[in-house]
């Protein structure tokens, strides 16, 4: 069947099925391969996209739940100002090694920033609790988000 939705700001319609995973649609139908498949079961966060502005694991979302809604992938988010800040923070903290987890990690960080809460260690850890990184041991990632918090806060002031 034809399913229509908004993808990275553009209205799209594709021939697919209701039970197809959103992950496969963005990767296979639209060649947006920044969204990764890690665990396929909601544990690792490599496949995170925004659905109506909220983080979801695209490996767990059937196309039925995407009909008429807005999807933003890492490719769409990377056009935005805030992406550059997060990317720079990650680079400066040395938080990127093999890079596999990073697109999902960046999306999850944006998810945390959208909460508009002070970025305490607890908020950062909880916000990244659905993202697995097999290289960094997380400390440099937490550090990147901490510094980013200070910077975003300074911007607001």
């Amino acid at each position: 069947m034809i399913i229509g939705f908004e993808l990275n700001g553009v209205q799209v319609a594709i021939e697919t099925t209701l039970s197809m995973r959103l992950l496969d649609v963005v990767r296979n139908n639209f060649d947006l391969t920044g969204t990764k498949e890690g665990c396929s079961e909601g544990e690792c966060g490599a496949c995170i996209v925004f659905l109506d502005g909220k983080v979801v694991n695209s490996c767990m979302v059937p196309m039925s739940n995407v009909v008429g809604r807005s999807v933003v992938t890492i490719e769409g988010f990377s056009e935005m100002e805030r992406y550059k800040k997060i990317e720079t923070a990650f680079r400066n903290a040395g938080a990127v090694q093999c890079g596999f987890c990073i697109p999902g990690m960046i999306m999850a960080v944006e998810g945390i920033l959208r909460l508009n809460k002070p970025l305490t260690d607890e908020v950062i850890k909880e916000g990244l609790s659905g993202n697995i990184c097999r290289c960094t041991g997380y400390q440099s990632i937490y550090e990147a988000v901490r510094r980013l918090g200070e910077e975003v806060w300074n911007d607001v002031q």
Binding site: L18, V55, P62, S64, I132
Partner: protein, 276 residues
């Protein structure tokens, strides 16, 4: 082959499930994993699937004079961030899964799945919550405690959906919640302890204690709670709970560990509450 259906209304959904055996697919965070077969990208199901998450009639959090009402497709995140609901509901929901899971997993899905580790069940047992089940003809209201038969077993007929959860409003003085898990993310709990209580003039006048993920279904002793309000005897209360424990060793942890830890947590909480 299986068919996937996306009804346009609640009525259409009820008609569909009245005429066949379907998987009811809400957030899919249990179903996508349990029923999957690894055959390429598209998830294959061994029977037809009907999607329900998009139905407006199944969404929203409401209150009236005596009850909170959570429609079945309310997400865990919506509960955790609700401005209407009390902290004793919001806090435990904010500790389920992980942020991305909470944005898709639904209230009703956690109940119908009836996993031993389902984190909402101890809350609903302690709060005396009920559900409304709907089929094309009638509604049934039953307590969640009666609805859950055992691990993955419920009193749902194939032509029924959970429509909403009804939680009595009470002016509790406070609550305690502790969940202990093992995995880094998504902490499927090894055990959880939930307590709500009322105090008046420094004395406990109502207390509810439930323990999740130790037995197949949550543990709660209403008799024991009544006794405890009368005699404030912590050791006697712990003995009552211990006698109800029937956990077996499983991959997540041993029987003894879980029983001992949950009793220790209850004890700590009860002491705190009494001293408060």
């Amino acid at each position: 082959m299986f068919n996937s259906i996306r009804p346009n209304s609640l009525e259409e959904l009820l008609e569909i499930i009245d005429n066949g055996d379907y998987y009811i697919f809400a957030g899919g965070t249990d179903l996508f994993i349990r029923k999957r077969q690894w055959q390429g990208a598209e998830r294959k199901f061994d029977k037809d699937v009907v999607f329900i998450s998009h139905l407006e009639e199944l969404r929203g959090i409401f209150e009236d004079r005596n009850y909170y009402r959570l429609k079945t497709c309310v997400t865990q995140d919506e509960v955790a961030n609700s401005t209407l609901l009390p902290d004793y509901l919001r806090v435990p929901y904010g500790l389920m899964g992980n942020p991305a899971i909470r944005n898709t997993a639904t209230v009703g899905g956690n109940i119908v799945n009836a996993a031993k580790v389902a984190d909402s069940l101890p809350l609903f047992y302690a709060l005396d919550a009920s559900i409304v089940l709907k089929n094309i003809q009638v509604d049934r209201v039953m307590s969640i405690k009666d609805f859950i038969f055992g691990r993955y077993k419920t009193d749902r007929y194939e032509n029924e959906i959970i429509y909403e959860v009804i939680i009595p409003k009470e002016d509790f003085s406070g609550f305690r919640y502790k969940k202990i898990g093992s995995r880094k993310s998504s902490i499927l709990s090894k055990l959880s302890v939930f307590i709500v209580y009322k105090k008046a003039h420094g004395k406990i006048v109502d207390i509810r204690v439930s323990v999740g993920a130790v037995n197949d279904v949550p543990i709660r002793s209403e008799e024991g709670e009544k006794e405890f309000v009368k005699d404030n005897d912590i050791d006697k209360f712990l003995l009552t709970i211990r006698e109800m424990m029937e956990g077996e060793d499983d991959r997540r942890s041993t029987k003894l560990y879980r029983e001992e830890i949950s009793l220790r947590i209850i004890k700590k909480f009860l002491v705190e509450i009494m001293e408060e």
